[in-house]
Symmetry: C2
Subunit: 244 residues, 2 copies
């Protein structure tokens, strides 16, 4: 088994398409330039002209936009198997920043590598487009969450989405998952204050639904949380033998 076969990205794409030996080889070559980044130090700055993307193989990253007044909106989190900056490869500037939440391992992918891989194996291109479409569907869900869900449903939806995403790469289940996010991350994601985040998490715990403590999320009543959030995982499009 090659390293690409074992990579989280390979596991993820396999939920969409069964990759051939040739396609796996092309995917492996995309993993060649391995790099490490330190927690808390930005990898790509908003406004930077960065024609490079990364495939995250270990650790968590957040992507965010700073507002002129200094407030921060977290757009999304990346977990192993996710692309970072796939969008920026084609736009002429990066429209947001990436910050590793813990020390991470990632493979650097140049625009030219990606376009070459697309030309060699259209099916792999389609699989990567699938992953990009899924990323966009998540951003849409976050938009709906902030626009239309109350704080409890918003938090529940967010914790359930992470569980599904992590399950796809073998790092989560209906029991729970390890999660390095702080209350400040949650606040900047959900458009709440850190105090409000605290209160919402206490309420969900007291209702016997979920506990987030000591960097671990534990589901006590997965079905109850799904009902509270109105969580329908169809937008994640992972109809394999996972959480659905």
């Amino acid at each position: 088994m090659t390293s690409a076969e074992r990579s989280p990205l390979t596991r993820k794409l396999s939920a969409f398409v069964a990759l051939s030996e040739d396609e796996l080889a092309v995917l492996e070559r995309l993993h060649q330039r391995r790099r490490s980044f330190t927690a808390g130090r930005d990898m790509v700055h908003q406004g930077q002209s960065a024609r490079v993307a990364y495939i995250l193989s270990a650790g968590w990253v957040c992507s965010y936009k700073l507002q002129p007044d200094g407030t921060r909106q977290i757009v999304d989190f990346q977990v192993p198997g996710d692309f970072l900056g796939l969008r920026s490869v084609l736009l002429r500037t990066s429209d947001h920043s990436f910050e590793p939440i813990v020390d991470i391992e990632a493979a650097e992918v140049l625009t030219s590598d990606l376009l070459e891989a697309f030309t060699q194996t259209p099916r792999l291109a389609t699989a990567i487009l699938w992953a990009a479409s899924r990323d966009e569907a998540m951003v849409v869900e976050h938009l709906v969450g902030i626009g239309r869900r109350d704080a409890g449903a918003r938090m529940a939806h967010f914790l359930l989405e992470l569980a599904s995403r992590l399950a796809l790469v073998g790092m989560g289940s209906k029991e729970g998952y390890d999660c390095p996010l702080t209350q400040y991350h949650l606040a900047d994601t959900l458009g709440l204050s850190a105090v409000h985040v605290n209160r919402v998490l206490r309420q969900l715990r007291e209702e016997g639904l979920v506990t987030f403590r000591d960097a671990h999320v534990t589901f006590h009543d997965y079905g109850g949380l799904v009902d509270l959030a109105g969580f329908d995982p169809a937008y994640l499009d992972q109809t394999g033998p996972l959480l659905k």
Copy 2:
């Protein structure tokens, strides 16, 4: 000049790449199945398994998600030259609904047509990916707007973004543009009530910045509105001789 050379999509993609005769011909073939849709009647329903996308050639469409409680979050609008449902082509279900705001003209594109076009002309594929990346960047901006901008800046940003997008297809300028949206559309987009939308628009008018009346947006002080919104059009990536 062929019809595809004249199409709004061709104008838009030309901001990214100069298309060859061959590529224009492939693009033209994507425009073959022309269809009309009536205002107010959904084209694609949330949850529908729709392996078809559309290229909008005339009229406006909104894409939205309904929440279990019946409230609606508008995710984005599509104007001539935009794809509808490009994401749904790869995901197994449509993650939102599309409603024509006025009577529209669109070309139907099957998944198979699109993948065939991608294989024939990787450069055209890249241009379409650019358009998809730009669409996602807009959704990110809307997320930031709802999460972090006050009502005035949110409205100003939205009206400015539409001006840039319409300018790209010759339908808007720094003077203004025709706009068929109602206050209910604005409310469901910006996470405000219709009453609040009214108040914000009156305020922007009284400050001498912009008037939205009788289906037309008129900029009185474009620069002032840009300042109020903190609008940086870099995320739209249209460095041609347009609004920037």
